[in-house]
Structures are given as C-alpha cells and as structure tokens.
C-alpha cells in the first residue's frame, strides 16, 4: 500500500538533512517546531550530538503561536539567543508545523536579517520529504548566501558528505585520506569544513560530489566561480570487499553505490533516494515503497545484496548472501557509527 511502512521506520527527513549540513559550522540552528522534531534530530538523526556541541534549538512553537502566527515572538526569541550565543550565522529550518500553517520562512529570514549582524539563512523543509532533499536545499542556501572567492588554492571541496549519507562517521575520513593524496587541503562541507572555508568555497580547485544531494550546489559553484566538479565517492573500495558474485544488488545513496559498482561491474544499483538520471543506468532502480523493494528482489535472481541490514526484514525469504552496508539515514543505527 502506498505510504504504508510495515518493516522500515520512515527514513531521516529533510529537516534532519538540512541541519546536518549546518551542524559543525558554528551557527545558531533554529528548528521551527514544537520540540519533537528537534528531539528527533538531536536524539536520533545527528550522531555527533553527544560528542560535539552545536547550537541547535527548537523554536518551541505552541498551539497559540501556530494559530495566531506570532512571528514577532519567534523573532524576539531569536534576538535573545543571538545575544547569548556567539555564532557565525543563523539558520532557520522548517518542519511540518510551519508547512501546515503556511509560514513564510523566507519572510522571517528577511526580518531577522534586518535585526542581525550575522548572516541569516532559511530552509523551507517540511518533514515530509527524505533527508537528501533537505541536504540539497541547505547546501544551496549556504553557498548562495556565503560562498565567495578570494584566491586560488590547492584545495578540493567535498559536497554531499554528512553522516546521514554515510554508514559510519569514519567513511568521511576515507574520503579525506584519498583526496589528500592529490590535494594540499580538503574541505568537507558539513563534516569538518570551517565557516571560513564555506565563505571561500570559490577558492577550491575542484569539487567532489559524494552524494546526489550535492550535485545542484556543485553546479551552482561551477556556474558562479567556474569550479569544476566530479561525482564519485573516493575510498569506496574500502567499504566492501569484492567477492565472487555474478549478480549483486547494491542499495545505498546513488553515488556511493555507483562507486562500488566500479569494482563489481555486473551489479545493479538501487536507491530509496534521489537518483540523478545522468548517473543512472537503465537497469538501475528507484524504490518508493516497501512493496517495490520486495517485488524487485523476488523477481530478480540476485546472488548477493549489499545494503543496510534494516531492509532485510522486507525480504525475509531471500536466500542469497547479504552484505551489510549501513546507511544511517535508513536504519539510524548508532552502534555502527
């Protein structure tokens, strides 16, 4: 049935994706919700929350705020927090509450910007799309507002690398290690790159896009600063050992899955998330519902599935080999991080 999940919990939502991009850049991140969405982001979708502080706050919206649209109250709270917390920027993140009452987040961004000496951004996420949509919008908002060029550097930018796109935090280290072989400096936007590195994103020699959620912003940086980009997941070969499989299915975010396929050319790539048609082979498949996944697996004779263990519940009768390739946005498994 469309929209029904019997085995998988819903995937990380867009608001979690947006927050993960801003997480470690020293900003004030305001989730425009009643509290539950922030709890989900901090308590579940952001594995860095218990080890790395970030100024993430819930707007603490209440029924009367929603009914009367008390934007002034939100701005007053924002001003108080801005006075208390030293930050590089302010990011406003949408959730189902502002989406339902039709809050003009861009309007609030403009009002807040008039009162603030630091940049204010907004991402109109709704909590109803997958995490990758939020990552894409957050990168675009970030680079459009902040990115500039001051010099040419021997530096490579990495876009699309946040914990939700990975299965383990250490995977970002694999990417960095690979790129450091050829570049002096690696800026992973969303996992380690500083606010200053974001502001000088145009200085990079090239950008590497490691997930589909980074493609739009890479195109923007190319158009604005002429920075070329490549779509690949450096170090992917470390994640799965090649085996004797004739017909494997790899399910993950498209770029990572494609990079793995380079070592297993007979593989089919599947994803629950955005698949850019430029990088999609005709046999590749996009899953929307649990039923899609079940039917696809049962109607093909895959001898191996390389995917997050959470999906195994959908195809309990599958007899082939299952190789675990965790995807945090799917299972949210902290024990693998």
């Amino acid at each position: 049935m469309k929209g029904l999940r019997k085995y998988l919990t819903p995937f990380a939502p867009d608001q979690s994706g947006a927050t993960s991009v801003f997480y470690d850049m020293g900003g004030i991140i305001v989730i425009c919700d009643a509290g539950g969405c922030t709890g989900n982001i901090c308590g579940f979708d952001e594995p860095r929350w218990t080890s790395q502080k970030s100024a993430i706050f819930s707007a603490g919206l209440r029924d009367m705020d929603a009914i009367f649209g008390q934007d002034e109250r939100l701005l007053k709270k924002l001003q108080y927090v801005s006075e208390q917390i030293k930050a590089n920027f302010i990011a406003l993140i949408g959730t189902p509450v502002p989406a339902t009452i039709g809050t003009d987040l861009l309007g609030i961004e403009r009002l807040a910007q008039k009162k603030s000496s630091i940049p204010v951004l907004s991402v109109s996420t709704t909590g109803m799309k997958n995490y990758d949509a939020g990552i894409q919008e957050a990168y675009l908002a970030l680079f459009r507002k902040l990115a500039g060029k001051t010099a040419n550097e021997d530096r490579v930018g990495v876009i699309g690398c946040v914990p939700l796109e990975l299965g383990h935090l250490s995977w970002a280290g694999f990417i960095e290690k690979e790129l450091k072989k050829t570049h002096k400096k690696v800026s992973i936007y969303g996992m380690g790159a500083s606010f200053e590195e974001v502001c000088t994103a145009g200085n990079a020699q090239k950008n590497i896009v490691v997930s589909p959620s980074g493609i739009q912003s890479a195109k923007y940086l190319q158009k604005t600063f002429g920075t070329p980009y490549e779509v690949a997941f450096p170090g992917a070969e470390r994640l799965v050992k090649a085996g004797p499989w004739q017909k494997p299915l790899i399910v993950h975010q498209q770029v990572l899955a494609n990079s793995l396929r380079e070592r297993i050319p007979t593989a089919t790539v599947g994803s629950w998330f955005t698949m850019d048609k430029t990088y999609k082979k005709p046999e590749d498949v996009h899953f929307k519902e649990e039923d899609d996944f079940e039917q696809f697996v049962t109607s093909h004779d895959f001898d191996c599935i390389i995917a997050d263990e959470a999906m195994r519940k959908i195809v309990r009768n599958y007899k082939g080999k299952w190789i675990s390739l965790p995807h945090f946005a799917v299972s949210g498994k902290r024990d693998v991080l």
Partner: protein, 425 residues
C-alpha cells in the same frame, strides 16, 4: 559565556509569581540538551506517547503522520516487547491539503492485521502536530475505522504543540490507554494502581498494606498480560493514582465506569511517606502499620549518613521523582545539594522556600535554557542522581535513577540508599 542559573535563595525571594523568564518553559528557544533528550524525543528514552500507548496488552500502533514524527520510533521498535507493534502511514504534502491520509486508515489497518500472525486486539492511531492544526476529528475517524475493520481502534495524540497546555500529551495518553475499559460490576476487593506504564518494585510495601486491608486483586496495566486481564481493570472498587498526570484518566474512569479515585505521590522524605500512608489509611478506612518499614528505612539512611556525612549531591529531573522534593529530603537527612537541574513551577515552591532556609546557595538550572550549551562539565557534587545530572557531573558517582520499574514508598527510598551505598561504599 556561562549557563544561566539562580540560587534557591534568589528564587525564593522572587517568589512563585515571578519565576525568572529563563527558567520558564516557552519563554525562549528550547535547547535539546544531550542530558535530557527524554523531553524532546518521546521515542528515544523512557515512556513517551508512543511507548506509553502500547501499555495496552495485545495492542499495536499505526502512526499516521509525516515521516519525521515517526523516524525515531525504531529506537523503541527494536526492544523485544515492541517488535512488530509499530507501523507507519506516512503523510505527504498532498495529504496535508486534501486530508486523504485519513481515508486510507482502514485499508492500512486491514493490511497490517492480515500480515500479522498474532492478530492485535487494539490498534492505537497516533497522530501528531499536523492533525492538531488541521483539527482532525480522530475520535470519529477511529470509530469509523473500528466499524470497517472489526478491530478496536483508538486515537492517541502526540501533540507537542500542547505540551504546556490544559491537557498535555502525556496526560491525554493516560486517558487513552484506559479508554477501552467498559463499565462492569465493581468488586470490593479489587483496585487499580494508575500513573505509571511499568510496575512498582515487586517488594513495595504498598502491595502488602493493601492486601492486609483485604484487597485481593491489585491491578496495574503493565502487569496485565492480555487484553482480557486489562478489561478486568474496570472491576476495581477504586483507583489509586500515583502520578498526577493520571488524574485526568482517573476522573474519566470515575465518570464512565463509576470508579472513584484517591491520589498519592512519590516521596523521598521518610516522615512524609509515613504521613501519606496514614492519610491513605484514613480515606480507605483501614489501618496501615508502617512502623517497621519506617524504622528500617531510617536506620538505612542514618547508617549511610554516618558513613558519608559530608556527601554533596547534584539532582536532575530525568529520574523517578520530583527533583525539588528529593533535594529537600537529602538536605533534611544532613547531606548537601549543590545543583538542581530542573525548571521550577509554582508547585516546586513548596520545596524551594524550605530549601532556601537550609541551603540557600543551591543552584538551579533549566535543562532547556539555550545557555546550557555553555554548561561546562565540572564536579561540584560527589554524587549525581538523574540521567541529566550524571551527564553534567561526569566525574561524580552516578545514579541515573530512571529505571522502568518504579520506586515507591519506603522500599523505593531504601533502594535509592542501597544504590548510594553501592557507588559510595
């Protein structure tokens, strides 16, 4: 930058009508401190709406909401008692405009029930802020779904928007879980304990006192192993409410099933535990002789105090108790309390005024105040009680005191001191 805090003396001088704004929920943004995710993440730890609603035996839940509301449910769904009990009907933006998600509920229930080997007796439909704003009449929708599917269907509301409202979600869910009880003949020797979603400590003296007074059947929802046992709860002669959040449910049961209720509360002051038992005995017309348990508890406390006379505590709110009452109890036993991590409300002033007289410099922090971001972990206390206090006082000896099994009465207090002895020697 420092985390905003106030001394108990300052709070007492300002009075309960002038609680400083940084300590008032809703006056500023909410910091979702790693110490207190239990507040903002109902699915993450403890009993939030999602877990609490499945206290009804043989029930399952269908969350009808945007994906973001259900996302963290896997944290509960993987616990053995909750496997194959959570299902999700995800809303999208079109549903928001057309409300078509509500029309799919019966079909979803049928598909879920058909897929399960063990058929559920009840389906709890959990809806969230979006349907609160859409003013969805979930009672009517559940009634219709019940007619169409032949399974009991009941709504639960995870409305974070109404958290400080007249009927907050955790109050409403307590009403929801008893809403399937039907009026039947009451039995004089039966009663229910309401308030918690898990049972009291097995050895709690309350059971013994009630049994000695002639009560043969004491029911708690968490001890009901099947739906039939749950339904027998409406045979109770009275309900004993141990958490004020269950008062609304008890009042509803009184109205619908004619079951009156009495209210007690969890306390850590030994003399107040005694007074409460005597008051309970008076109301029930029974005798409660608690002298032996009281003396034993006092001996336990004194022995520990003599071994550790200068012990200093930090007390959080993420634990089984009222942090201000526990702080006051420990101060009365002769210990020190350096910090309390909990925003006070007007009721807290019963203790704040008293604490200010014996420990005016005890500092009070609000876990959710934005400047808690700057709270630097330090050791001002020897022992931290509460999951949040343990987070803040990482070098102190730690007692999370947030187990599912509920401490109550003398046995609860003795268990606390047994744990203290365990960590302090």
């Amino acid at each position: 930058m420092k985390a905003v805090h106030y001394s108990v003396q300052q709070l007492s001088e300002l009075g309960k009508e002038q609680i400083p704004e940084p300590l008032v929920y809703g006056s500023s943004f909410i910091y979702s401190s790693p110490a207190t995710l239990v507040y903002n993440s109902p699915g993450a730890q403890g009993f939030g709406v999602k877990r609490a609603a499945l206290s009804v035996p043989e029930s399952i839940m269908l969350l009808v909401a945007p994906g973001c509301c259900s996302r963290n449910t896997s944290a509960i769904a993987e616990m053995p008692a909750y496997q194959d009990r959570y299902f999700y009907l995800m809303m999208n933006e079109t549903d928001l405009v057309t409300s078509r998600h509500l029309k799919k509920i019966s079909t979803a229930i049928r598909e879920i029930v058909d897929s399960l080997e063990t058929k559920p007796k009840v389906v709890m439909i959990c809806i969230t802020c979006v349907d609160a704003l859409l003013a969805t009449d979930m009672e009517a929708i559940c009634k219709k779904a019940e007619e169409e599917t032949g399974v009991l269907v009941r709504p639960v509301y995870m409305y974070a928007l109404t958290r400080e409202g007249h009927i907050p979600p955790m109050v409403y869910v307590r009403r929801s879980i008893y809403s399937m009880l039907q009026k039947q003949t009451r039995k004089a020797d039966a009663m229910n304990i309401l308030g918690f979603f898990s049972p009291l400590i097995e050895s709690c003296e309350l059971y013994t006192y009630l049994q000695k007074a002639g009560i043969r059947t004491i029911r708690e929802i968490s001890r009901c192993t099947n739906f039939e046992q749950y339904q027998e709860m409406s045979q109770a002669n009275f309900n004993l409410v141990l958490d004020a959040q269950a008062r609304y449910a008890a009042a509803d049961l009184e109205k619908r099933c004619g079951i009156p209720y009495i209210e007690c509360r969890r306390l850590y002051q030994v003399d107040k535990i005694h007074s409460q038992y005597q008051a309970l005995a008076g109301v029930l017309g029974i005798e409660i002789d608690d002298s032996e348990q009281m003396e034993q508890t006092i001996r336990t406390i004194l022995q520990f105090r003599d071994a550790h006379p200068d012990l200093c505590f930090a007390i959080g709110e993420a634990m089984n108790g009222d942090p201000f009452e526990l702080a006051y109890a420990l101060l009365r036993y002769g210990f020190k309390v350096s910090e309390i991590y909990s925003a006070p409300n007007k009721e807290s002033y019963i203790y704040i005024d008293k604490i200010s007289k014996i420990s005016p410099h005890t500092q009070v922090y609000s876990n959710m105040e934005p400047t808690m971001l700057y709270y630097a972990s330090h050791q001002s206390a020897d022992v931290a009680i509460g999951q949040d206090a343990c987070y803040y006082q990482q070098k102190a000896k730690q007692i999370p005191w947030n187990e599912d099994i509920q401490p109550f009465g003398y046995v609860g207090l003795q268990k606390l001191f047994a744990q203290l002895k365990g960590v302090c020697g």
